[in-house]
Amino acid sequence: MEQSRNEQEEIMGRTLAEKVWEQHVVRRVDGEPDLLYIDLHLIHEVTSPQAFDGLRLAGRKVRRPDLTIATEDHNVPTVLGPIADPVSKTQVETLRKNAAEFGIRLHPMGDAGQGVVHIIGPQFGLTQPGMTIVCGDSHTSTHGAFGGIAFGIGTSEVEHVLATQTLPAYRPKTMAIEVSGELPVGVTAKDLILAIIAKIGTGGGQGYIVEYRGEAVRKLSMEGRMTVCNMSIEAGARAGLIAPDETTFAYLKGRPHAPSGELWDQAVEYWKSLRTDDDAVFDKVVEIDASTLTPYVTWGTNPGQGLPLGASVPDPASFADPIERSAAERALEYMGLSAGTPLRDVEVDTVFVGSCTNGRIEDLRSAAEILRGRQVKTRTLIVPGSMLVKLQAEQEGLHEVFKAAGAEWREAGCSMCLGMNPDTLQPGERSASTSNRNFEGRQGKGGRTHLVSPQVAAATAVTGRLTAPADL
């Protein structure tokens, strides 16, 4: 059975996702999920404590501490000083205790390597093509930008990976998102992924691994590719990936954990084979023309409720599907918006640039470019995704640009991406945010979130209304 399935796939050609999956099957038995080997396990303080407790209860060890790395990100304040909230503090201290007890490398607050979990893997060169990577965090899909299979897991699975370095899983179906044409000037990877989610919906990717393909994707930088893959989960797909190429190799070369010398050459040779065969067949194909896109913004309370910035708040009555209609009604009520209002007229109180979606150096550079020589009208938080991103930004003088514009330059962390640390919205406050979720209360109870690119965020900070850089 197995044999013939593999042979058949050989004849038909395989997709990138299938190649990476097959490479990691430890055990395959008919009627059971595959047992998949995990090359890298990332850990943070929120989804791990109960997993370590489980290990202790059962008297189990971490099988491969040397394939595991931990960081503190969700709870950390982004101004210098200790954690004020005792419950947050306990959670962070619990991670420290667990990392020490089980022998896991940890980058604690204040450490030069600390940062948001999905920023530090790539920056250390730990994220490489063809790998399987998991983390108790749904945005693990970010790492797929390097051409591996990376997905979020729950705490029970975190415990499973700690104990066994494997996971039982059924191979998802494969979807290709073919992005033809070129992104127009001023339109970014964030706009592209928001447009994709608006097109296929928050459930569109359920049950699939998505491969992003096509000219516009090839032209993206690694930062841009990470932004796209990061939000795969917002379209319902547990994993998204992009075939590795020269851009990927150039990004990796010389990073602390990237191979070197002869191993580098061997690795590159293998990595070059990590592409979907020309005759491979995807279970589903979605096409999108990049050249028609403009800056995107969300108007509602799920990431699929997005529109071009030039549009107006939609009328719920315009949705044919009754479920979508009632979701839109609820969203407008929560967001305090009325149908027909041009999105450009929507005033915001806070601008947030950061998160694992848009907290990398390129994002900060593009925000700085817009803020240079201008003044912000709103509270503006610029939060680097990691301490290394912060250091690099400061070496480039970006922090001076932000401060001169009146923005706040912070320490690394998840910050206002989620309401778990001191950076939150107050009830009724409205933000333009480069993060990934506009769910009710995501940035603080009662907070209202519009997801945007770093460029739109910066331009919005200048005018106090949702604004594209071209409008300035």
């Binding site: 430890v26 394939l67 595991t68 370095q165 479920i323 109870k445």
Partner: protein, 195 residues
Amino acid sequence: MDAFITHTGTAVPLRRSNVDTDQIIPAVWLKQVSRTGFEKGLFSAWREDPGFVLNDPAYQGASILVSGPDFGTGSSREHAVWALQQYGFRVVIAARFGDIFRNNSTKMGLLPVVLPGEKVEALQAAVEADPSLPVTVDLEGREVRWADEAVGFEIDDYTRWRLMEGLDDIGLTLRHADDVAAYENERQPWLPTTV
């Protein structure tokens, strides 16, 4: 994990779509390091509204949640599953689930049941008309039954078996420790370690 074979209880209709895990349990509740006490955080923002369905005395004690499509999207937080279970739910029925939530549920013995959208609505309407209506979720027979309706649902054999036996995945995998060790010997030499 408790074995799940069949369950009969009353149901609550949640007429919302895209019930993301941030709604099921907001982030402020995730700071706990224990596995208990999450029932207080379940839908905590929505429960502040006295009109919210979980506040309706007619549905007290219900153990089956019947939701609109795309239940459990978003964050991977297993706390969402713990909160639902600790509040008293044993089953969630919806037309579509977020993949990670669905996976987390089956690890914990909370049964996610996918029914066609129109059947979900029919069940919601039935329990709105009679909140005391008994609903049976039969995992063994792969069927949901209420009044004179009986609707089949799909679940793979392996997950069904694991749930019916109440088996812990880690114990099952550790039986194959030799396979894992053999695989480890063959891994590509350039793959990174964190040390």
